[in-house]
């Protein structure tokens, strides 16, 4: 592999990794804060992506991404509201969470199948980012660079929210020790609500930004969920810094895996998980709890 090839694959991997971070950040926050395994995360992504593909007209791109973000937020809050009905029983019990959210996942996916006939759909890249840069003897689509930049900006905003605001401090405290947080007089309920909404917003925006690249198709509800799981396991639950590095690592490993060992590419990502867990059983940064 030439140097140009290696750089090109790195760019592909990093752009995909940044997108994965948007996807996984919300998942890791709900997991870390509430100890809540939200399996609907992939289905929220799926429905948001389908909603985004409805705005194919000229200038529809921005609307599409915003609509996807809104869809994600609403769906995630819906999951929260459903959970809230039996909050006491569901909260400390992972099996019940898995059962409940798996059911909701199937419902969401079925809604997408009935509404869009299960057909794969896509969203055209916006005019300002259509085209490609010539690079070595290949091309790199401008939209991928734009998608990566947008994801990076959102990641920075998320970092600021987490590290520099009172809300972020409360979330971090909740991740570390929820009982202690509540003992200081902060009610966890509104924080959970906000984190669920934020998680859905991020998943929705990820779906919207990814729509011109990945489109919307049945099966994403699971494939996307697996990626989110891998990143949370690698980065440690609730750890945004860990999730960020894990996302980039997964994206780059995936790109080089496909390039060097195309036949076993599916395995390279899991090999990364095995290697990291053998070395750091609680995730890259030792886990948050």
């Amino acid at each position: 592999m030439s140097l140009a090839q290696a750089v090109l694959q790195l760019a592909i991997g990093l752009s995909f990794g940044l997108l994965l971070f948007l996807l996984a950040s919300g998942f890791t926050l709900t997991f870390g804060l509430a100890g809540f395994v939200n399996l609907t995360h992939g289905a929220v992504f799926l429905l948001s992506a389908y909603v985004a593909t409805a705005f194919t007209g000229p200038g529809g791109y921005v609307t599409a991404v915003l609509a996807a973000g809104a869809t994600g937020t609403v769906l995630s809050l819906l999951v929260y509201a459903t959970t809230r009905l039996r909050w006491g029983r569901v909260l400390g019990d992972e099996l019940k969470q898995v059962l409940l959210t798996f059911g909701l996942l199937l419902v969401f996916a079925e809604v997408a199948r009935v509404r869009w006939d299960g057909l794969p759909r896509s969203l055209p890249a916006p005019g300002f980012a259509d085209g490609a840069w010539r690079f070595a003897d290949a091309s790199f689509p401008v939209y991928r660079a734009f998608m990566a930049a947008a994801a990076l900006a959102l990641a920075a905003a998320l970092w600021w929210l987490q590290e520099r605001t009172r809300f972020g401090a409360m979330v971090r405290a909740g991740v570390d020790d929820r009982a202690m947080l509540e003992a200081t007089g902060v009610s966890a309920g509104p924080i959970f609500l906000a984190v669920f909404g934020l998680s859905g917003l991020l998943a929705g925006l990820a779906a919207g930004l990814a729509a011109p690249v990945l489109g919307a198709a049945m099966g994403q509800e699971f494939s996307v969920l697996v990626l989110a799981f891998v990143i949370v396991v690698l980065g440690g639950p609730g750890d945004l810094r860990g999730a960020f590095l894990a996302s980039l690592a997964v994206g780059v490993a995936d790109a080089y895996g496909k390039a060097f060992l195309p036949t076993v590419a599916e395995f390279t990502m899991m090999a990364l998980v095995v290697a990291v867990l053998a070395w750091r059983p609680r995730g890259l940064f030792g886990g948050a709890r």
Partner: protein, 396 residues
């Protein structure tokens, strides 16, 4: 006038039986006492079971295929010759296990004389032995996997995917003048079948395969595979569904299309995915037995009938195959006459049937039971704002 009483189906209750018997007697009397025996079985409709996916991954194909079969039957006024034909639909759920249990239901509860099955390859193969053992004909509506030929009662109304991909291999080497090719295909039964067939015929025609890449089913991002594709005269792709949409789009976006033309087996740019792929599909070539733009009277009749039925109808090989399966069954039931409910006899008749299908003349290979059909080469063009196939001709 003797026809109308025969439309009544025979129910289980004695009252119905008496009513039907008396109506039949009246009918016979009306005909002036024609010499027909009392236990004429042709009074009963011939029941045909249809297993289609309404749920699961292929769930989208069930309803349109059902509509096509129903429309074909309606066009024949629900009759094959002088026998009424009744369709019984069940959901195979994209799942071989479900298909097997539904096949049992069709045989034991509905007493069907033939089963159209299935759109899911694995379901088709799973149901095969059950129907073969009971001597009930099985008719596959779409290019089903190679594996039904060991059952004498089975037939498939379409050529195998491998058959069409093989023709494309020869055509690519001999007519399109490609000397080297790269193969990229989905890493499951379908992808393997078309990749193997293309490779075999392309190399036999003097071509050389530079590299073969198999990608997991449901690959989200093909970028890394595409960025490293070696140079060749052409790329052959074996993808369907969402993989086809993403692959063709990304093949264009990463500038590979400018370097190497893209060809593939039909589903790569079928009517069902064409609009979603968008302008990236322009120029892509495909080898397949069906295209909605084929110019023949039966295709026109099929598309006109379906469009007249209303709704958003997108013609594809799924619906065309269901339509042609209907034609085959109607012709076979008529030809079998009073033997139509004898499974083995009907199966023999089906394999001997020759009908006009939306893709041309459809007959069955007497040895394998798979359809002998023409394979066309077409390219995607943009015409008056929409993407469509431009058929270059039949591949020999």
């Amino acid at each position: 006038m003797s026809k109308s009483p025969r439309r009544f189906s025979v129910g289980n209750s004695g009252i119905t039986a008496v009513a039907v018997a008396s109506v039949a007697v009246l009918g016979l009397a009306g005909c002036g006492g024609a010499a027909v025996s009392g236990e004429d079985s042709s009074d009963k409709p011939v029941k045909i079971g249809v297993l289609l996916p309404y749920t699961g991954t292929f769930g989208l194909y069930g309803k349109p295929m059902e509509a096509a079969l129903k429309a074909r039957l309606q066009l024949a006024q629900g009759r094959a010759g002088d026998r009424a034909v009744e369709l019984v639909f069940e959901d195979e759920a994209t799942d071989p296990a479900v298909a097997v249990s539904k096949a049992g239901k069709l045989l034991d509860q509905d007493g069907v004389s033939a089963v159209v099955c299935c759109a899911t390859g694995a379901a088709t193969l799973a149901v095969g032995p059950i129907l073969a053992e009971r001597g009930i004909p099985q008719l596959g509506p779409i290019p089903n996997p190679d594996g039904l030929k060991k059952f004498k009662t089975a037939a498939v109304a379409a050529p195998t995917a491998g058959h069409d991909a093989g023709k494309l291999g020869t055509y690519a080497a001999e007519e399109l003048g490609h000397r080297t090719a790269v193969i990229v295909a989905s890493d499951f039964a379908y992808g393997h079948e078309v990749a193997d067939a293309f490779e075999k015929s392309f190399t036999e025609a003097g071509g050389k395969i530079v590299e073969r890449v198999l990608t997991p089913l449901g690959t989200a991002d093909f970028a890394s595979y595409l960025a490293r594709l070696p140079d060749a005269d052409v790329t052959f792709a074996g993808f369907a569904g969402a993989d086809a949409v993403r692959f063709v789009q990304q093949y264009d976006k990463f500038g590979v299309k400018k370097r190497m033309p893209l060809i593939g087996h039909g589903p790569l740019v079928t009517e069902l995915v064409l609009k979603q792929i968008g302008p990236s599909a322009v120029g892509v070539g495909a080898g397949f037995y069906y295209s909605s733009t084929l110019d023949n009277p039966e295709n026109k009749r099929f598309i006109d009938t379906m469009k007249a039925a209303g709704g958003q109808f997108v013609p594809s090989h799924f619906t065309a195959g269901a339509w042609a399966s209907g034609s085959v069954l109607l012709a076979a039931v008529e030809a079998a006459g009073e033997h139509a409910t004898d499974g083995r006899e009907l199966a023999r008749t089906i394999r001997a049937t020759k009908v006009d299908a939306p893709w041309g003349t459809l007959s069955f290979n007497p040895e394998t039971g798979y359809a002998d059909a023409p394979t066309y080469y077409y390219t995607v063009v943009q015409k008056s704002g929409s993407l469509q196939h431009s058929v270059a001709g039949e591949m020999s």
